[in-house]
Symmetry: C2
Subunit: 413 residues, 2 copies
């Protein structure tokens, strides 16, 4: 269709079954268009009071006694994530550490369990920490990293994964959605071909958890990790999650033998004896204040339902595509079923455009080398937000006002 008028956006918002959800978030600057929920989700309206009660009441008044409550959160929040977001069973998901540390633990556990296989397959275009963690594991063990070339716009081809996964491959580490383009990998297909080759697949769900239904069990997924601060809205650096299918627990021993992974932790026995279930993947004391913020954030998602969230996400993404202004090239799959929650646009001056756009009240983000990520979050992004953002982007490109900014690289992008 041609360039839709703002009225179209207003009509889409009026008919939006998730319109109510925006009120579940704090929006202090109504003129700001926030399209970076794929990096840091907005603050849920219930979170400040929830966290404050944890601080004042549970810590301040309950003191150390509240550990009887806190001790269960990593697992109980994991169970909620499993049921409502990840398509997994109770006891298969737990909150713990950072995404990077969880990747390390699970990947190392697989490598220890399959010492005869000497290769790890990764996407050469995957998010840096995924690649770096694997590089470190491989370097220490003398393993080969098979880094598959992927298209920066459309992602990894299933054929290249199929060709790479042979009987020397212990582990395949892939992101469900590419951090740059949002291109989706076919989780079920990869799981199936890896299983035939005897390899284990570890999925990074950071860019899909909370914005589309993930079907870990139904797709035959072995292992997964992901952050909770993007579409899961749990706050900056909120604890990450990890998933391990129940039948894999006995064979997997992760290398960081911390006391939270110990069976009968407070017996404080002489030798490490890992807990029987998902608890064996825990390590140290969880950061309770940050963990607390996962709870109210999940409540909004549970109420909305990830299927409805995905439905709106697809329509928001298509609306972005309808509105891409001249001069920006779409650098994401155009087919919605091949794309996660964000749409990426390419421009040689993307870094300056991103900052100029922020000056015009539109927060997107920049990714090397020349990408502008547009990340509508269905729970709080309206169609008019997308329309206004693309309108301001259009003006900015027409005026070339961004050329007045310097081009020095940013420390944080």
């Amino acid at each position: 269709m041609g360039h839709p008028p703002r009225r179209t956006a207003e009509e889409l918002d009026a008919a939006d079954p998730l319109a109510w959800a925006r009120d579940r978030f704090v929006v202090t600057d109504p003129d700001l268009v926030y399209l970076d929920g794929n990096s840091l989700g907005r603050l849920p309206a219930a979170t400040p009071d929830f966290v404050d009660a944890v601080v004042r009441n549970q810590w301040g008044t309950g003191l150390v006694r509240t550990w009887h409550t806190w001790i269960d959160w990593a697992a109980s929040l994991g169970d909620r994530l499993a049921e409502h977001v990840l398509g997994a069973r109770p006891g298969e998901v737990v909150l713990s550490d950072s995404t990077s540390v969880n990747l390390y633990k699970l990947a190392a556990a697989v490598l220890a369990a399959t010492p005869d296989r000497r290769t790890i397959v990764v996407d050469a275009g995957d998010f840096p920490t995924d690649r770096y963690i694997v590089q470190g594991l491989a370097a220490e063990r003398g393993l080969t990293v098979r880094a598959l070339a992927s298209d920066i716009d459309t992602g990894l081809s299933l054929n290249s994964v199929a060709a790479a996964v042979d009987d020397d491959v212990a582990l395949v580490v892939l992101s469900h959605a590419s951090y740059r383009s949002g291109a989706l990998n076919d989780m079920a297909a990869v799981n199936s071909l890896a299983r035939k080759a005897g390899a284990v697949v570890l999925w990074d769900l950071s860019h899909t958890a909370g914005v589309l239904p993930v079907h870990l069990n139904a797709s035959g997924a072995d292992l997964a990790i992901g952050c909770t601060y993007k579409y899961l809205n749990s706050g900056p650096g909120a604890p990450a999650f990890l998933y391990a299918r129940a039948d894999l627990h006995p064979a997997l021993r992760q290398p960081i033998w911390g006391w939270f992974g110990q069976r009968d932790q407070f017996r404080m026995g002489p030798d490490y004896d890992p807990a029987g279930g998902i608890g064996r993947f825990l390590v140290g004391t969880p950061p309770v204040l940050s963990l607390a913020a996962v709870d109210p954030a999940l409540s909004v998602i549970e109420e909305a339902g990830v299927a409805r969230i995905r439905d709106k996400s697809v329509r928001l993404g298509e609306f972005v595509l309808d509105l891409v202004p001249p001069g920006m090239r779409v650098a994401s799959p155009v087919a919605s079923d091949r794309r996660g929650g964000h749409v990426t646009l390419e421009h040689p001056d993307a870094w300056r455009i991103c900052r100029a756009l922020a000056g015009a009240g539109v927060i997107c983000d920049y990714r090397e080398p020349d990408r502008l990520r547009v990340g509508p979050a269905p729970l709080y992004t309206r169609f008019v937000d997308v329309w206004d953002a693309m309108d301001r982007l259009r003006d900015l490109l027409a005026s070339r006002s961004y050329e007045q900014l310097d081009d020095a690289p940013g420390r944080v992008t």
Copy 2:
């Protein structure tokens, strides 16, 4: 001296140069005597508003833009810890992960740097996570763990450390103060004998940081880790710290190659290239809400000064010793210069006594097999608190009312 009257405690409080500091903490139940600051420190009065501002303003309004601020906290809080608490230089301390993960990272880095040495020395009576982490590292690498027998009351003898550290020892992992007895290890002496043998020492400061002056540089310490939720009052599961002496940075590469340890992190380059300084020991995105709580907690300690804190800690500990009721045996070093912040008492029924004491409004904690830990925290524990606690303990022992409780082990102690 004989059993001092409560008036003595009141006089000590009246003369206490740190008496002002109690008002810097939230005390909602004035009848409760909290002697478990060695496990979870009290809530500083400034913390709720500080954390709330981070949640509402920095996250809620600033959104992803606040990462320009948050990105520096791990290092800037580390520098404050270095200067005011740990006796280290700027750039030698950083906040990161949990104590367990930090121990793993630093220990693994040492083992990788000294592959010809095949032994790790630990205290067989050290805190579980320290022993377990080392067991895991040793198991994976086929190394020997030399677990030194230590006295449950008085700790490890320097002679046994000296005898154990030979030229096959890569690493010595010790706690500065024993978690059970509070017995102190002589940091400078251990560092010196280890250096002569070519071994690296990694100190766990969890039970000393914030309650006595730690002199990492002056004692010639190589590496250290510790938590911030005990005497550092930063809240349940607050991020841990790690210290690495500056000259050791180039040789140490930790095994978890996460993107926060990468030089020029947001360039997102193809290969892991660790940051030049202390940043190379970082891994993933820090839990910002939990990290935030370190700031106001440190401010109180900076104002009080750890030397004054230690002075009061010693006097509080001696006051506990003066008041130990009949039936409890002192299970800590009686010499104050050999003891950290807490005093441990032994009784065959310590578990039931601990819970009965909680029912009488005195929170201590229990440690296997039969220990009651009494942990006065100088910033908020008054001498009358100690007096009242010991008085209630005396009554409880005289009445044997604790015998009415069941003796089933607790999940959390």
